[in-house]
Amino acid sequence: MSRIEAKTDAFRAIADPTRRAILDRLRAGPANAGTLAADFRTSRPAVSRHLRVLREARLVVDTQIGRERLYVVNPVPLQNVAGWLEGYRAFWQASLTKLKRNLEAK
């Protein structure tokens, strides 16, 4: 997968509020699909579908530990998203700094 495809998939994957919530939950620590389904009061197949989208976007990785499959956040694609947001962040930082200078100039 090219870098641009991975980035697009990451955007699409986090456009869904349930998947954002799952990612937020996994940032607190690894979990298996059953735990996530219980946490989000949704069905195991629904959680599995979300996890598959997140896995395909490489936002999560799974590891088999004994009989348990644990999901962990992979921060790398999120850094692409962060890079995209950085332009907006810098814009507002610079603009509000300028606004303050203008409004407080005597």
């Binding site: 456009a15 907006y88 962040r89 810098a90 507002w92 930082q93 700094t97 606004l99 203008n102 409004l103």
Partner: protein, 157 residues
């Protein structure tokens, strides 16, 4: 004015695709609101050397449109949107979209609170990285995001 902090702060929430920025200003909410909803925007919607607003027009009422144009890295651009909430001097909400770009607009919310010695202005710029899932996420969408990214980013050369 001792209570007024000296710096603007802006942070990105990557998971939510949102920027939250705030600044404390040693002036009244009424004066700040005027700067948010008038041609004064050309004096402060800037990121030096990256993004330079030259013109702004707006019909500042609910459902009214606004339009800003300028130069970013030598290329002209147009931003536009609609006012969703207009509640001077407390709150202003507007959509924000690059003209001609596919995808759904983002939303900018300004909140103004009186504080000791001035006004705290908080900006929420949200839904930035949330393209319409039902639309075809194709080449046009990608290149649009990349162009916007180039326009806004301080890191591209």
């Amino acid at each position: 004015m001792s209570g007024i902090s000296t710096h603007a702060r802006a942070v990105a929430d990557v998971i939510d695709g949102r920027i939250v920025a705030s600044v404390e200003l040693a002036t009244t909410p009424e004066r700040v609101f005027q700067a948010l909803a008038s041609r004064e925007i050309v004096d402060w919607w800037v990121n030096p050397g990256v993004f330079d607003t030259r013109e702004w027009t707006g019909d500042v009422r609910v459902g009214g449109r606004w339009r800003a144009s300028g130069i970013a890295r030598g290329q002209p651009y147009v931003l536009e949107g609609e006012f969703i909430e207009v509640d001077p001097p407390r709150r202003l909400v507007q959509t924000w979209h690059r003209a001609g770009a596919p995808g759904t607009p983002s939303t900018v919310t300004y909140l103004l609170e009186p504080i000791d010695g001035g006004t705290r202005l908080t900006v929420h710029h949200q839904d930035i990285a949330a393209p319409d899932q039902r639309s075809n996420v194709g080449a046009g969408w990608r290149s649009s995001f990349d162009r916007l990214s180039e326009i806004l980013s301080v890191h591209h050369t």
